[in-house]
């Protein structure tokens, strides 16, 4: 009883001297096609709520949401973030489910790979489209520089709208994924410093792809003597990302840019060879690729922000082979087209974006024009 009283007293005192911040929004909406006014049946965040508790150098922050689907009236509670943050003199330490942001460009950001993406919200800006990961992060500030370290004990992957006919991008039904990642632990470091009038950032991240790729295949012949059919078994490659980002200013223009070098490799699968079917073949891929983004911004005298992004990617080195799991005999199966499992969400060679922020704060217009210059 005494302990209960002490605890109640402590909680009362801490709430009296602490600062509590809360904010939230309720968004009830219906998405309809212009062509026939039929409803687009996709879930959306009907409620989002942030709660923060600050006591001295300590913060507790939570972001929760309710996802709702109009056609079925089903709702789903989501704990998007919940973390403890401590702010000593030298920097900050955070522990819990968090959303991180690296890099300097907006949106298509190849060095920002800490959090997986929720593809249902891919067209949202900022942290709204990311999935929180349980992580320990720390930032140390010294002079005009800071160093950040992030450690993720449990890997998380992208959330794809599998089988959703109404999703604007074509994503087939949920694939059969057989292979969990080999090493769930992920980590990264980022160093940022001010050079002249600009900022320069260097980063490294070692983790697993957020999107799946082919790891193995079951091979069968529908017609004897005919071409073989492959049933793909998916998994997640191990990927190391080295990143460089900077922001600088030329006259009235702001230039933000990023370059990410990826080294991605199919993990050695721990297959139970004796139990493996004879028709099982493994696919090994070792690939180096790069992605870059150059973003140029200009604000007109009428407060219209014009920003354009040049996005590019290239494969530097690619080695792959198919071999039989038990005999290790190399086979000449077709190679699946390479799909990056990390980096930019959509690889479009060139994209131009025009944002218009109207002074009236109740109206925000954003016009995005994507030009695929290859076509």
């Amino acid at each position: 009883m005494k302990i209960f009283k002490k605890l109640t007293f402590f909680i009362s005192i801490s709430f009296t001297i602490a600062q509590i911040n809360y904010s939230g929004e309720v968004t009830a909406k219906s998405m309809n096609r212009i062509s026939n006014n039929s409803e687009i049946n996709l879930p959306y965040r009907i409620l989002s709520f942030k709660l923060g508790y600050t006591l001295g150098q300590l913060d507790i922050n939570t972001v929760t949401g309710i996802e709702y689907r109009n056609n079925t009236s089903k709702s789903n509670y989501v704990l998007r973030e919940a973390y403890l943050a401590y702010y000593p003199e030298w920097g900050e330490i955070k522990l819990g489910k968090q959303i991180h942001a690296w890099g300097s460009v907006d949106g298509n950001n190849p060095t920002d790979n800490i959090n997986p993406y929720d593809y249902y919200y891919l067209f949202m800006a900022g942290a709204g489209r990311k999935i929180g990961v349980i992580s320990l992060s720390s930032k140390i500030y010294f002079g005009n520089s800071h160093l950040e370290g992030i450690f993720i004990p449990k890997y998380e992957k992208n959330r794809f709208p599998y089988g959703e006919e109404d999703f604007p991008l074509s994503i087939p039904s949920k694939p059969k994924i057989e292979y969990p990642v080999k090493n769930e632990f992920e980590f990264g470091f980022r160093f940022q410093t001010t050079i002249g009038d600009g900022d320069l950032g260097l980063s490294i991240f070692k983790g697993n792809d957020r999107a799946p790729s082919v790891n193995a295949a079951n091979v069968f012949w529908e017609v004897e003597g005919g071409p073989p059919s492959l049933e793909s078994l998916l998994g997640y490659r191990e990927t190391l990302v080295r990143g460089l980002d900077f922001v600088t200013f030329f006259g009235d223009f702001t230039v933000r840019s990023e370059l990410a070098l990826f080294k991605s490799k199919t993990p050695i699968l721990n297959l139970h060879i004796i139990k493996s079917p004879l028709s099982l073949y493994e696919f090994q891929q070792d690939i180096s690729y790069s992605q870059y983004v150059i973003q140029i911004e200009y604000t007109t005298n009428s407060d219209i922000i014009l920003s354009g992004q040049l996005i590019g990617n290239s494969v530097q080195n690619e080695n792959y082979e198919w071999y039989h799991v038990t005999s290790s005999e190399l086979v000449d199966f077709p190679y699946p087209e390479f799909q990056p499992g990390m980096g930019n969400k959509s690889i479009v060679p060139k994209l131009h974006e025009i944002n218009r922020k109207v002074l009236n704060p109740n109206v925000k217009q954003q016009k995005i024009l994507i030009v695929h210059l290859k076509n």
Partner: protein, 249 residues
């Protein structure tokens, strides 16, 4: 008689301060080491529609170092702004955008950009360096029964100003600006500003600023509440990490 007139004229010219001297007097006015307040900005557009911004502001070195946290509008709650002016260099300006979880470095070169949709530009929020301007004194005038120096201030090229000229009315007894008109690069009147000052702990500080963009027919009224001076703000406050946490004022 002639000798007497010449003597008087000589005395008059010796006593009359030039524009630059008045600017230096204004610049050397006693100011607090640090300041904090809750700044309320009421933005009114040409149709009379209003929007209210409320920020917690802390500054030191005569606003050369300034940090602001937005409390309102609700959409922008948590957005924070850090400005550090550097002598001979461009200002360092950063913005914390909670929706993006990112501290964004922003350009200080385009100093005429509006600050959060208000009629105050980043340049209006920055200190006016004496060396970056030319000053010319006009005839004294009286505003609200207060005798004022009137200065024409011409930004030099190196100031990267978005203005071609300012005309400032400076109260002679307090050396506080009471009124200012700013002209765009084409020489057209762009903004009219009115200042109301108050005494606080032996200092004179601003209580209210009214800015009207006569070209956009848009106005902003800025009032400073809960004003505190010399509270011992540490220089360490003006760091990126402090943008992320809303302070108690």
């Amino acid at each position: 008689m002639k000798k007497y007139l010449l003597f008087n004229l000589l005395i008059f010219f010796l006593n009359a301060q030039s524009g630059i001297e008045i600017a230096k007097m204004v610049d050397s006015r006693k100011i607090p080491k640090d300041q904090s307040n809750i700044t309320k900005m009421v933005l009114t557009n040409s149709k009379g529609k209003q929007r209210i911004n409320i920020v917690i502001s802390k500054s030191m070195d005569g606003n050369k170092k300034q940090i602001m946290w937005f409390l309102e509008p609700k959409d922008d709650k948590g957005v924070a702004f850090l400005k550090i002016e550097k002598k001979g260099k461009d200002d360092e300006m950063r913005m914390w955008l909670p929706a993006f979880k990112k501290v964004r470095r922003i350009s200080s070169k385009k100093r005429g950009d509006s600050f959060m949709g208000s009629d105050l530009s980043y340049e209006d929020l920055s200190t006016r360096e004496i060396a970056d301007h030319n000053y010319s004194r006009l005839d004294d005038q009286t505003i609200n029964l207060k005798l004022c120096y009137v200065l024409e201030i011409f930004p030099k090229k190196e100031s990267s100003s978005s203005y071609s000229k300012h005309i400032s009315w400076i109260e002679q007894s307090t050396l506080m600006v009471l009124k200012e008109e700013s002209f765009d690069k084409r020489g057209q009147l762009k903004k009219k500003k009115e200042f109301l000052n108050k005494e606080l702990n032996d200092y004179l500080v601003m209580e209210r600023i009214f800015v009207e963009d006569v070209q956009k027919k848009h106005s902003t009224e800025v009032t400073f509440e809960d004003y505190k001076v010399d509270t011992g703000i540490s220089i360490k406050l003006f760091q990126e990490k402090n943008l992320k946490r809303l302070p108690r004022n």
